[in-house]
Symmetry: C2
Subunit: 401 residues, 2 copies
Amino acid sequence: MQISINANRCEPSPMRKFHPYAVAAEAAGKKIYHLNIGQPDLPTPQEYYEAMRTFDKKTLGYAESPGMPVLIHAVQNYYKQLGVSLDPNEIFITTGGSEALLLTCLSILDPYTEVIIPEPYYPNYTTFVHAAGGVIRALPTNPWEGYRYAQRERIESLITKNTRAILITNPGNPTGVVLSSEEMRMIADIAKEHDLFLICDEVYREFCYDDKFGVPTMAHFRDIDENLVIIDSVSKRFSACGARVGCVVTRNKELQAAILKFCQSRLSVATVDQIGAAALYNVDHSFFRASKEEYRRRRDTVIRKLREIPGVVVEEPMGAFYVMASLPVDDTDKFQYWLLDHFDDYGDTVMFAPGAPFYETPGKGINEVRIAYVLKQEDLERALDVLAKGIAVYQRHVMKI
Amino acid sequence: MQISINANRCEPSPMRKFHPYAVAAEAAGKKIYHLNIGQPDLPTPQEYYEAMRTFDKKTLGYAESPGMPVLIHAVQNYYKQLGVSLDPNEIFITTGGSEALLLTCLSILDPYTEVIIPEPYYPNYTTFVHAAGGVIRALPTNPWEGYRYAQRERIESLITKNTRAILITNPGNPTGVVLSSEEMRMIADIAKEHDLFLICDEVYREFCYDDKFGVPTMAHFRDIDENLVIIDSVSKRFSACGARVGCVVTRNKELQAAILKFCQSRLSVATVDQIGAAALYNVDHSFFRASKEEYRRRRDTVIRKLREIPGVVVEEPMGAFYVMASLPVDDTDKFQYWLLDHFDDYGDTVMFAPGAPFYETPGKGINEVRIAYVLKQEDLERALDVLAKGIAVYQRHVMKI
């Protein structure tokens, strides 16, 4: 018996190896501040639970394979408010943005075909691309340029005859980079000129902290209807990760047919969660404003605190709820183990996501971390103080600076 | 832009093409009896809804990637009652049996590797195997042998150097075939001797209508720990298809590592559905007995009525809630269109699943149908009467017999 080549090409979750150390630290009485988990902590709107509880069919049956009409209609309305007109058959409800990505990769990638992705990127992209036999061609960025990647020459230099798609996250995870409308247009042009799919993971769309960005979506560009694949989800927008409700939006008929076949094969997305998700889309827009303001305050806190730490390289992220930063330590992986094993400040320690797994290129990201600012203000302040102390002690005692 | 080879190798749902005809028939005032839908109609135990409604965390967060401990524990207990001892890390909760199958195929199949599957089989297997680039080698059966497939020579004759797995559904969909314990042992031996994965889709385990079968599972054979992959689900067992909660059970460590990577990449299965599913596993066993008795009565009705139709070839199925039968018509696909378009009996007509899509071998199954007996007694009786009338009229007016 053997395991498939593609499964062997996938990596286990990069955070999992720290789990036993975190458990041991907690068993030893330490409190861990989690800056590593990219999951919103704001309350899920009550509309989700209320709608879910109204479900009273005697038999909990399969929903429609492409999604329940009530939810597709809600998504359609949501996009309409962004100025994007969609037909119901252009929307496929999926089990989270994750399934949206997997089905897209299975639909457009053959073995050895390539996807261009700016690095650092969300590590699970690796699994989705590799599951389909594809190869990631990383578009390099740098912390001192704020991880910006939208440069025509850099992108075009990576295109080969095997390139099938460009995959971007906008706003970006882990970098918080938000594209300007000129940059969006330029990337759309590249996809169009080179006949590539443009996969835009826009699940953080509502979290742009400069008003000039609005609520950005590539779906406004109607001349790339054939190229564009939008990945979307209720997880971040509505603080509802556990609903596992997302969608693929595409106007490409051939891709629609391919995705529909995969949707049919797995029958449907969970019924009550779709009903809950449909209700979320009716939540008053003040919810988005309030969430955004809260995350903006947190971002400001994190940036202020990070800049107080000598040797940290960080640019202010414009979106999502992450910041990627370079720390003045030799290896953030090693540093994370040490923080759990050998360090505490009055009983407290901290976890972040070490940077290397966000990169395809070996050796990159070793000094970097992703910090998710999904803790409340005072916890964030304390977590960053603990981090600063940790860096100082680590430099003195481990790095012997 | 192009669609992947594997996506192109998948087929759309075979029933979808009838949908507009069914809509038109209903618009014309016809009542359709649905013998085509393989979804239980018995009520979902209230425990599901009650548990789901107790969920009161403010933020609906991701669950654990391999499944929530409460559900894994419930599955573990359920297997214990079958006499099967499992460790928690041998159980991976999935979004239905569908995801269990997809992740298994992605984990063990490379392009051009082969899976032996007795035909007729559940058509969605094609998509899961093809998504991973695999090839189905069909093990042929016949209606006049009751679709039984467990013959060593027949199975071994299909094994090549590219064979990775044998995939069986026991009890069978669409055939209702249940393996005897000797047949199970023999298939286990083949898998072991030839170093193949043995994927057993046992989602209909509770629906065996001869007491000699008990509640069958291959998991009793401890000498095939390395080979065995069990596909399981709450959908049929608890009339809870829309929960989308299933699992993969395997004791093969390498396969566990591969499946875990895929589980981590899609973060988790929906949280409230896992809580509901865990509660289902505590349902009193009288629920299984009552469901089984109900389906047994229905099977008896369907068989009795089918045998009254001249020219029908059918063997009594021993499990699941399907019967595969050969009808005395030229082409059941054509017959189905005609039933929707040109026939009614006092305003009633009927749908079944035509046989050809259940076969890999071209030309097979053209006279066959799958009938799902998930309607209540009186509806089943009426549906079979309408079918009998339809056959008689079709033979006289279309086939000109």
